[in-house]
Symmetry: C2
Subunit: 202 residues, 2 copies
DNA sequence: CCCCATTGTGCAACTAGTTGCACAATGGGG
DNA sequence: CCCCATTGTGCAACTAGTTGCACAATGGGG
């Protein structure tokens, strides 16, 4: 739905080959819209077929050769259209929260280690964003583009900040919980055989 | 990937028919794992075929009739396994941030209204979460299950708080921007024909 | 009694994203 | 010179989620 527009944006910022795009999707743009190289090549083909981008004239366009693309006017127009069009935020899907909800039923055994790991990953990401902020947005720069890019980076920083704080709080909560976590089968308030979860009832 | 586990969790909390599940996915569980009724029916079929759930014996199991399901021991075991298994956070994909990045290239014309709309939507969601918190988590309740459920709700509240604050900040930033937003084609620092974005160059 | 809105279940086709390869060109090390 | 790791491009099959219907049962209004 949005990959073609992510690619158009990246190509407008700088005409690139598939591999260069892949690298840029591993940082910068990819921080909020990830894509694999296979997706990118496929989409480049479609965009070219639709006349939104074109391959830059290269010396020898043999296979296994870099092919760079640039955005055509129709591509820019499509991107402007898409950017301005209203879009509903799509409903969230978060595995970790779902697992926690499941843990409330089947027990928290085993999940704590992974929470800790996620905390570390988010801390690392946060540090990386802060590094970028320091490097790319020193106090002086405030052209409209800088402001927008900074705003986007700020969203990343604030989101990672939320996750690190929430995860830290969750882990704290866990240490206060009875050892091994809540027993399974508690929602109905009746007795259950409980246990490790792998034991079949009756 | 996670839908079957979301369904197992919901069914463990309370055996339900497809429609009941659909309703519960429109609130509660669905706040962090959304699913359509078609997805749910399809998945119920698979789970039953795999022996993880079974249909509760009903009076007349004719078509067009409610069929309720309950989780079998194998289903509970699978859910416990999945909950404890390590999982990498999957890379984020956020359309709004992508559109803002595109706007930095093709101009911000038209996007502001949608930011305002998103702000309202997030404010409404936040209010709803706060309502639920007040209703379901009065000061006294703090069984392990309550604590976990509250923790999850807190994540929702904090996320919506982030979005409302960030969007408010973004809108503020916009009023400070030159009218109509940045001109297109600015990244190379050279002159461009700028304009509305639909005008082809040359 | 029959029409029609509502409730409930489900299939089929499609779109987007992921996984697992295949294979060409390049260039340095033995 | 030839092997083999690296770089770069791409196809094919699969999985997950979405969209658009179809159709049965139920129950109230004319």
């Amino acid at each position: 739905m949005s990959l073609p527009h992510a690619i158009l944006t990246a190509l407008l910022e700088k005409p690139s080959s598939g591999l260069e795009l892949t690298r840029r999707f591993d940082k910068s743009i990819g921080y909020f819209w990830s894509a694999t190289h296979q997706q990118i090549y496929r989409e480049l083909g479609k965009l070219e077929a639709e006349g939104l981008i074109r391959a830059l004239p290269a010396e020898q366009p043999a296979r296994g050769q870099r092919k760079s693309y640039e955005v055509l006017p129709a591509g820019r127009a499509e991107l402007a259209r898409w950017t301005a069009a209203a879009q509903d935020p799509k409903p969230m899907r978060d595995t970790l929260l779902l697992r926690l909800r499941a843990a409330a039923v089947v027990g928290t055994a085993g999940i704590e280690a992974d929470l800790r790991r996620h905390l570390e990953l988010h801390e690392r990401q946060l540090a990386e964003y802060r590094e970028i902020e320091k490097r790319d947005f020193p106090p002086g720069r405030d052209s409209p583009q800088d402001r927008l890019h900074h705003l986007i980076l700020r969203a990343g920083i604030d989101l990672e900040t939320f996750w690190t704080q929430w995860l830290a709080h969750a882990l704290q909560e866990f240490t206060a919980l009875p050892a091994g976590g809540p027993a399974p089968g508690v929602t109905d308030g009746e007795a259950s055989n409980g246990g490790a979860g792998t034991t079949p009832r009756r």
